[in-house]
């Protein structure tokens, strides 16, 4: 591939065709029907969340009065209770329940932590405040001991209330960023995501305060790495090609996934992901696509089932003449994780994806997005992305 690329005028035909297809589909209001063997989780406003919390505490008090041996039942989050819903392409939580008892010695610490978090959630909802998971941990370090304990209780509380974690006003720290043809509202402030410099807007974890106001974008691009985001921001990619770009700077955090879901649901635009050509990159794409196992109870609010894997694909390495030096050998862990991905039902059902991962396993190579800069720094923005979006070369 020559370093000097002639400047072509790409028409983005394939991406536009997909966009028109979505435009037609937006007339059909399709309601997601979850399988009967899965539990229903709701995104609640402050008042609804408080009502659920009061109902839960009332039922605990009633049990104390009636038997003196209260228990709390909540959906089990073990791997055996995680179900892949093929029709909606989502990872969901099944109906298996686990019971937390107040009266056994082994569960005393667990239940006390749970009640402490419940108390914190009540305070946050009443005062209309938000707290990070770290703040919850520091609210009672002696009780929680380690943050993993408070984090577990936070997830337990969300499942006990059959709601999303964001509905409890406990949020993760801000990590992702977004830039491009989009105007949003954060409470009473209007934010223009084209006018915030190269860094873009830091995705707020308090997404209940965010509302989409206006956009003239035609697609959404999710990039795995900040380095790729910088390249796109520097090229002002969205000015030439009307789009919204976002990144979680690595693993997909809740706020970024939830914001992407929000964008995709409200604007109904095609969504593409650009990740490293390695099992970790493919896993990140899968988390955007159908959710993670750990947070499977929130999948309907976090997953973007129509996201397409644009690249970097293993087959791209030959197509774009990536040199041997640019291809990295897979480690044992990479091979193990690729095999695990190939065993997932959702990969098995997607032939193109299965083929690409199989090819990676056969060649035992991986590559980073940045390898494309071996053809010049502007290759990504001036050739690779436009060509793929024009020809429809995605999975």
């Amino acid at each position: 591939m020559a370093k000097k690329q002639s400047k072509r005028n790409w028409d983005f035909k394939a991406a536009k065709d997909l966009f028109y297809e979505y435009l037609e589909k937006r007339q059909e209001k399709k309601k997601i029907n979850l399988p009967p063997e899965t539990i229903q989780i709701d995104n609640l406003n402050r008042k609804e969340a408080l009502n659920r919390l009061y109902n839960l505490t009332d039922s605990v008090i009633e049990k104390i009065i009636a038997s003196g041996r209260p228990t709390i039942q909540l959906p089990s989050r073990t791997s055996t209770n995680i179900i892949w819903d093929e029709e909606n392409d989502l990872l969901l939580l099944g109906k298996q329940l686990q019971e937390k008892q107040f009266h056994s010695l082994s569960s005393v610490a667990d239940i006390t932590r749970l009640m402490r978090v419940l108390e914190a959630v009540n305070e946050l909802l009443v005062k209309d405040l938000h707290a990070t998971k770290r703040e919850i941990f520091y609210s009672d370090v002696k009780l929680f001991g380690e943050q993993k304990n408070s984090d577990k209780s936070i997830e337990d509380i969300a499942t006990m209330l059959y709601t999303t974690r964001n509905s409890t006003h406990i949020v993760a720290s801000a990590k992702g960023s977004c830039i491009g043809r989009l105007r949003i509202r954060d409470k009473s402030d209007i934010i223009d995501l084209e006018g915030l410099g190269s860094g873009g807007w830091t995705i707020s974890p308090m997404l209940d305060n965010i509302e989409i106001l206006e956009s003239d974008a035609e697609f959404i691009l999710v990039v795995e790495k900040d380095a790729a985001m910088i390249r796109l921001a520097e090229a002002r990619f969205w000015r030439k090609y009307p789009c919204i770009i976002l990144t979680a700077k690595g693993a997909a955090d809740i706020a970024t996934r939830m914001f992407l879901k929000h964008l995709s649901k409200d604007l109904k635009l095609p969504v593409f992901s650009l990740v490293d050509s390695d099992p970790y990159g493919h896993y990140i794409h899968s988390v955007y696509l159908r959710g993670s196992k750990r947070l499977s109870y929130e999948s309907p609010f976090l997953a973007t089932p129509n996201i397409k894997l644009l690249g970097v694909l293993t087959r791209d390495l030959d197509k774009y003449k990536i040199t041997k030096e640019g291809r990295l050998p897979m480690t044992k862990m990479d091979i193990k994780r690729t095999k695990e991905l190939l065993n997932e039902d959702f990969v098995k059902k997607n032939k193109a994806w299965h083929d690409d991962l199989s090819l990676a396993l056969k060649l035992k190579v991986k590559a980073e997005i940045q390898v494309l800069s071996s053809h010049g720094f502007e290759f990504l923005t001036d050739h690779y992305l436009p060509e793929k979006l024009t020809t429809g070369d995605w999975i």
Binding site: R26, R183, S188, E211, L213, E214, D216, D266, L267
Partner: protein, 172 residues
């Protein structure tokens, strides 16, 4: 979202006006101002510009004004103060946007709550300043025309001096 189609196949999406019913009372006005001042010119497509301009007027008529009126005529002083504070800010930046509340200022100036009266007075002063500015611009234009006519010998020195005096009196 409300969708507007461009001739080149592109689209512009704007939030549905129904969603604005839950917004803080002054926000629909701020949104209207934002789209008018910052976005509309960027859309390039004349048809879309016109359609969005009509939609913005619809928001003003159906959401922004009725919501403002309901708060300003209501009994909740706290809500009225909060709305007036934002309207006062807006009146400093773009007085035209706050025109819909003008007919209600007289009643607010007689309100029992001192803070409401103070805010209403500030907004009223901003209207007076804006009116004066507009009047001054009008007189300046007339004066400049008369100056040209005077230099061309079409009007007398007295007539020009009278126009200039009118302008300077208002300016002072």
């Amino acid at each position: 979202m409300r969708i507007f189609h461009k001739k080149d196949g592109g689209i512009v999406q704007l939030i549905d006006k129904e969603k604005m019913q839950e917004w803080p009372v002054e926000l629909p006005l701020i949104f209207i101002e934002y789209i008018r001042e910052k976005q509309i010119e960027k859309y390039e497509d004349t048809k879309v510009k016109k359609e969005i301009s009509n939609y913005i007027n619809e928001i003003l008529k159906d959401v922004a004004i009725p919501r403002l009126i309901s708060v300003l005529e209501g009994d909740n002083d706290e809500e009225t103060i909060s709305a007036l504070q934002r309207i006062e800010e807006l009146s400093k930046k773009n007085i035209e946007m706050t025109n819909p509340i003008r007919p209600y200022l007289n009643n607010l100036l007689k309100h029992r709550n001192k803070e409401i009266v103070k805010l209403a007075q500030n907004i009223s002063n901003n209207f007076t300043k804006a009116d004066k500015k507009k009047e001054l611009a009008k007189k300046r234009k007339i004066m400049q025309e008369k100056e040209k006519e005077f230099l061309a010998g079409k009007i007398s020195g007295e007539e020009y001096a009278r126009t200039r005096k009118d302008y300077l009196t208002l300016k002072e």
